[in-house]
Symmetry: C3
Subunit: 433 residues, 3 copies
């Protein structure tokens, strides 16, 4: 994953254009992507797909002809969607177009101006302070012209057409944590699932932030009702414990599955309540869409100093952190796969587990093994209204134990899924020694 | 307000009679009152309006002809509703008719005997202890005879006939905090609203405690269904932080509005759960009436040593405390006026706020201004089921900010009130720089 | 109670057989029992009534002909339901059939093997360690043959046929706390109720654990719908505070009644959430039965070192603890008897309590007596949806005070039961000075 991230890092991504397409071509070599180009001017809900932005060159030259800022040095140097410029101006005239971080004088900030025609350069504050009075030539050879916005998706088909949606935004230029980390983890999850049997279908969507998720939602209305659970992936490196942000309602299965996995298996994980600010969960959780989508990050946006600066580079995203994030997602999928409601087929008193080999044969012991307690909890609570996650929460037992108890009871003919026709082929895949 | 309070202080109020009428005549000079006289004997729910009580003179004279207690000195000296007496008795015979406070030897207590024919005098314990054995002449020239009980109300008409009810009891004699403080604050709120446009109509009712509120409820059944919110006002001076007592259900809009205003703007405010003991909220919150009426006081009844004694005089109720109480009420009204449910008219994804001038045009910042966050919260939650107070609670933002966000979004055509026909003309009036 | 317990202690109880029958015959001398014999092979839900087990002799003899273990010494020496044996074997061959407690070397453990054909002996670890290598003769003269399982019940008829169910298991051999304590307390409760008028009928059921309660449930389906509240009684001696285990739903009237009684009157009482492990509440609270049955114990099963050992003897169950448990149960019954929903017949404002002698006649006091507050709470909350237990919880007053307030208000014609036809004859019986 880290190698793929390093490969993708230098590509000049933006809302639209060749940087995104090059990124998706590379991912397509790992898992096949279905690409859709949405033409400029397409109405998507309250928005309009903007012109495509192409930039070939952008620099600021001092009077001596020395390039003091040059897009070739770093993709963050140019404000995203800057309009074309070729002019000469004084430093004072130039200043309003410069962005730097006085408190982090060696970092280049990341700025965009997608929806207001404007231009600007981002540079380190140290470089900015070293600029002398005088005339500067400013050149931005960009083009804003009809084109298209690129959406990509990969579908893993499971036993049912009920879907788990995974979304990662792909519009940020050379920022590793935000969001190459989400892109490569999602890609490797998709790759892992290929050829594996699952109960749910898994849809992976890569698109630009905001306008991309809005476009995808607007153009796929017929499929939204199939989405049962979803995760927005971003900021999966950069250090810090996992932060799971709840969906709009806060109590959906994905919320409980994710939090059970994180708090029981990933030390220090934190739970965040829904907030209509952040990444594309804002769109998936808007009132008219209202999907059960949570968000998995490590330290959230805006809460670490490298956020949206040139310090968010591949070294900031260690390979182990990506691997751990990939594992956490897979564990969440496993819980979602196994979670369901069951009906106890012998609900009058307890069934006799002993003659089915599910219970010790001597009586009188002081305690009960956790595994037998899980069997009793599943039997007691399975009246068709409680899911295994509900039972896990009430019993205070690990989900895996509860799910295995349910499987054993189903095999013994004592339990059936409450949604009768569904057959369960749970994802059981990794690290289950 | 304090001048009015001082003016009203000496008037000899009781359940019925001239003291109450004189009080109402004076208030009528500030805001016009509609007066209703309820004749003795009228059945009001489980009660009967009692005889009117008039007293012209009341004193105790010692053997030397010296008046040791005289109603002319203080209206508290006579037990309210004392029957006529003209007799001579020993000190021992007199003692059961005397009320004093041994632990507060310089204060005169306040006592009544409205519904059991009886008589008595209240005096300082110091005065009582100085009484020598001997004969005393006791004279009470009172009259209990058919008459009437006086109810007063003032209605401020708003854009709708949905009402906010404000109640203050007016039967206590020379006690400043209990309840001239409530009376003058209510009067000045009524005065302030005159000529101002409001969404709600505001009804101010002044009546004797218990029998007065019961009479008013019994005689105005047709109007009760219009009452949306209500406040009982009492004990608004006397020091101590505000105490808001919840309505019977505890979660009505007035409960949440009042508590939001108090805890966010008035340091030290305390929230009290409903209790069927206190002032006239007992009647408004009885199970057959069950109005959403809370109560605003400072230190509650019975919890300060001056309660129901001669120490509850105008000096105990500083003008600043009255002004602050008036402001707190007005703030509560403002929240009630602005609070409503909205429907997001662009609920699919977020609407593009930038092109409407409601969002900054550059992207990539670390944080989001509170004002923009309020816009996002209102949009996200406005599915017609959540009120602005609900959103305020979930977002943890000030109500004013949320209400302004809703107004801006409504002006931008992105929001409409959920109760479609209603038009909002929120009270925006004081201290809104 | 303690004398009865000592008398019952030596009887060799098991799932079936003469020990249980002898126990029930003795109880029948105190309260009349209805006995039902359920034949071997009867299908009861998922279970089958097992063969009846009879044992006449069981011992282990060493090579010198010395009996090193003999059932005549202690009923715990033989594993319950051991099959017949008459053989000679080496110590090494014998060891897998021996049960002892190395950490409690002087205690004999209690073990059974009801549903898997097997045999074994229980002995102190000290005795076991003293066994020398050599040949041992093992004799178990037992018989597993068609017979029956014995169920017993006693019904106290109250004013209604709504029932309170009390269950105690009777299958454990010489163990005093588990469960002679439950048996004798239940017996004495039944005895106390005879000839007393109650609102509920009280059904006492004594049966073997698990198979007994399952049999009773399977064979009395027509009566289950009449059960309104229930208690499983066990471990009522042995020291430690009371532990009340909630029913499956956790919020049933019996749960609230029991906890109110215990936390307000029995210091140190603890509340346990439902768990599908323990005693026969497991069967009563299975999803298809789902009765509102809680469980009263002192220290729960498995949490004290004497549990299921020979140290659980009559000395372990002091008479005072049995008496206190009996009183706690009776207090719970009293709350259940008195708890009901009422309708305030004067719900508009407060009724005038003074003229009914329910309220002091002078006004102006600083505080209100608890008894008057209880009257006001009952009036305020009695809209037909809140029970006296609900009101008790909200008011924070003792249940007895609230119930007496309701009785006074009903007598004054201000209240009627919400379930109109029911007439209340509350159990008022013991210690109500």
């Amino acid at each position: 994953m880290h190698a793929l991230l390093r490969e993708l890092f230098p590509l000049g991504r933006s809302l639209t254009g060749e940087g995104v397409r090059a990124t998706l071509r590379r991912i397509n070599e790992v898992v096949p992507l279905e690409i859709r180009e949405v033409p400029t001017g397409t109405l998507v809900f309250d928005w309009t797909v903007p012109d495509e932005w192409t930039v070939t060159e952008a620099f600021i030259e001092d009077a001596a002809g020395r390039r003091v800022v040059d897009l070739r040095d770093h993709t963050l140097h140019l404000v995203g969607y800057s309009v074309p410029v070729d002019t000469t101006m004084t430093l004072a005239e130039l200043q309003p177009h410069l962005h730097s971080l006085p408190e982090q004088p060696d970092l280049i900030p990341y700025r965009t101006s997608y929806y207001a025609p404007s231009w600007g350069f981002c540079l380190t504050d140290r470089a900015r302070q070293s600029l002398r009075d005088g005339q500067y030539r400013v050149v931005i050879r960009s083009r804003l012209a009809p084109g298209s916005l690129t959406l990509a998706q990969h579908l893993h088909r499971g036993a049912t057409d009920e879907e788990v949606l995974v979304f990662a935004h792909d519009c940020h230029p050379s920022l590793a944590n935000d969001n190459l980390s989400g892109l490569v983890v999602a890609t490797m999850l998709a790759s892992f699932l290929r050829g594996r049997e699952t109960r749910y279908s898994y849809r992976f969507v890569f698109a630009p932030a905001t306008i991309g998720s809005i476009s995808w939602l607007a153009l796929h209305p017929e499929g939204l009702h199939r989405i049962r659970h979803g995760l927005v992936l971003s900021l999966l490196g950069g250090g810090g414990a996992f932060h799971y942000k709840q969906s709009r309602h806060g109590d959906r299965p994905v919320d409980r599955a994710a939090w059970h996995v994180l708090q029981s298996g990933f030390t220090g994980s934190r739970l965040l309540e829904f907030l209509p600010w952040g990444y594309d969960e804002r769109q998936f959780c808007s009132p008219g869409i209202d999907l059960p989508m949570g968000r998995l990050t490590r330290t959230p946006n805006g809460e670490f100093p490298e956020y949206h600066t040139s310090a968010d580079n591949p070294d900031f995203v260690p390979a182990e952190q990506l691997a751990e994030a990939w594992l956490a997602c897979l564990r969440i999928f496993e819980v979602l796969e196994a979670d369901r409601r069951y009906v106890n087929l012998a609900p009058y008193g307890e069934p006799q587990l002993g003659r089915r080999g599910l219970y010790r044969t001597t009586g009188g012991h002081q305690d009960i093994p956790e595994r037998q307690l899980a069997l009793l909890w599943v039997l007691n609570q399975s009246d068709g209204t409680k899911s295994l996650l509900d039972i896990t929460g009430r019993a205070g037992l690990p989900f895996q134990l509860v799910a295995r108890a349910a499987a054993d009871l189903e095999a013994a003919g004592l339990l059936r899924p409450a949604d009768a026709d569904a057959h369960s082929t749970p994802l059981r895949s990794v690290g289950d020694e």
